[in-house]
């Protein structure tokens, strides 16, 4: 079941606006899986699924489910426009080789330089990595979709990662339910502020140091 909490939906809607016609986009687990619901039919984004599909369509009605056709989250899907199938090694040629325009992924932490931690929690068993590190290493643009603070209310945008890093490559854009940040020349820059918050609250909930863009504006949704 999808978690349609309004804060998560806001993040998904905002990132959907960021995707452009013709782009090849990989959507990670969690909030990114909500994004297809907010893509306009004319937006013509091609969704890549790392288990071997370019051109992922929506969830089928129950009578059309085929478990030979699933997403990377292992849910039944359909073929979208111009769908193409390939093996896992070819899929990661696409991902690691720089043929995916945008990867949208969740994060446990993001540093003020845009470094990403999204695969392991310190002190817990490390038994899964999936395609996270391949996407971090290879996607042309990385957009992070994350709640602004974790379940304990701790900032997820931090000065330095305390969780294990997913790679040396940094994110370009970070979207939370409260704000949009761009990483520009290694610096986090606040670009948009959601209507139900303000700069003071964002400063309080953000450990990472950031600059405020001269043209900072209300968050687009």
């Amino acid at each position: 079941m999808k978690n349609n909490h309004p804060a998560r939906v806001r993040i998904a809607k905002r990132i959907a606006r960021e995707l452009k016609a013709g782009q090849v986009v990989n959507l990670g687990v969690g909030i990114p899986t909500l994004i297809p619901d907010y893509l306009r039919p004319d937006q013509d984004v091609f969704l890549q699924s790392e288990n071997g599909l370019l051109g992922m369509g929506p969830t089928p009605p129950a009578e059309e489910i085929d478990m030979d056709l699933i997403s990377a989250s292992k849910h039944p899907i359909t073929f979208g426009k111009g769908a193409a199938l390939f093996s896992s090694s070819d899929s990661f040629v696409m991902i690691r080789g720089g043929h995916v325009d945008v990867a949208v992924m969740g994060a446990l932490q993001v540093s003020e330089k845009g470094e990403i931690a999204n695969w392991a929690v310190p002190g817990e068993d490390i038994l899964g990595v999936g395609g996270a590190m391949d996407l971090v290493a290879g996607a042309k643009k990385i957009i992070i979709a994350t709640m602004h603070v974790n379940k304990d209310g701790q900032p997820k945008l931090v000065r330095e990662l305390t969780y294990p890093t997913s790679g040396v490559r940094c994110a370009e854009l970070v979207v939370t339910e409260k704000a949009v940040f761009a990483i520009e020349n290694g610096t986090m820059v606040l670009k948009e502020i959601a209507e139900d918050t303000n700069l003071e609250e964002i400063r309080r909930l953000t450990e990472a140091r950031f600059e405020v863009a001269a043209d900072v504006m209300p968050m687009l949704v």
Partner: protein, 234 residues
């Protein structure tokens, strides 16, 4: 129905599994349960001779399903893959010290198997540079970018799942059930393919064949079929 006299590679699942030895390494196709050779796994679970298996597969199926079955029957010594968190039995077995786990990023795993089948001993890759999964690995810089050295993966046996075989052993796959199967078919000394259907040679479109017959040693017919889009035992 094609008989074994017409098709030398055709065996029963039990005959095929007899070729697996105690302590063997197995490449097993599938992403979760999608594209996983259920019938061959059932045949392994039903025998007691070949145990202590090392399985190389993206994950270990689901609790009690697919490769998850072999965890419950205690046939596995080690699992090599990218994602084990979703099978709580795997996590439990690992915590009890009953299962070794080696974690590899999914794309690195796929490429290591591809290399293993392609006569490539090792390769430099940018995935996982600077992470815990790169610890102990040789690092080099090419064109200003950091890469780590990863060794190819081969196994003695590959268990793969395809949609159709012809009587020679050419294979085609179904949708995203292709996943790791084609590269695994190239990277083992003995390749056993489970298929839903066997057709006469010459009826598969040569443009559509993904795994040519010379990679395939043994073909078995699946004892599962799809009902409402889900595989169940016949």
């Amino acid at each position: 129905m094609i008989s074994p006299s017409e098709m030398k590679k055709l065996k029963t699942p039990e005959q095929a599994v007899e070729m697996i030895q105690d302590g063997d390494s197995l490449l097993v196709g599938g992403f979760g349960l999608c594209g996983m050779p259920f019938t061959l796994i059932d045949a392994i679970a039903a025998q007691d001779r070949a145990r202590n298996l090392t399985v190389i597969s993206n994950n270990l199926g689901e609790p009690g399903k697919g490769l998850g079955k072999l965890l419950l029957t205690g046939h596995l010594k080690k699992a090599v893959g990218s994602y084990f968190t979703t099978n709580r039995d795997a996590v439990k077995a690992w915590k009890k010290g009953e299962l070794e786990i080696e974690l590899i990023p999914q794309g690195t795993l796929a490429e290591a198997i591809r290399a293993g089948g392609a006569g490539i001993a090792a390769f430099y890759i940018k995935t996982a540079v600077g992470t815990k999964l790169a610890e102990g690995k040789e690092e080099r810089v090419f064109n200003g970018e950091r890469y780590i050295l990863v060794e190819a993966i081969r196994a003695r046996v590959a268990l793969i799942k395809a949609y159709k075989a012809d009587t020679l052993g050419n294979l085609i796959y179904s949708k995203t059930a292709r996943n790791f199967n084609p590269m695994m078919a190239t990277a083992a000394d003995l390749v056993i393919a489970e298929v839903d259907e066997i057709v006469e040679t010459g009826t598969l479109d040569p443009e559509a064949i993904v795994t040519p017959h010379n990679y395939v040693d043994v073909v078995v017919l699946s004892r599962y079929h799809k009902v409402g889009g889900v595989y169940i035992e016949k």
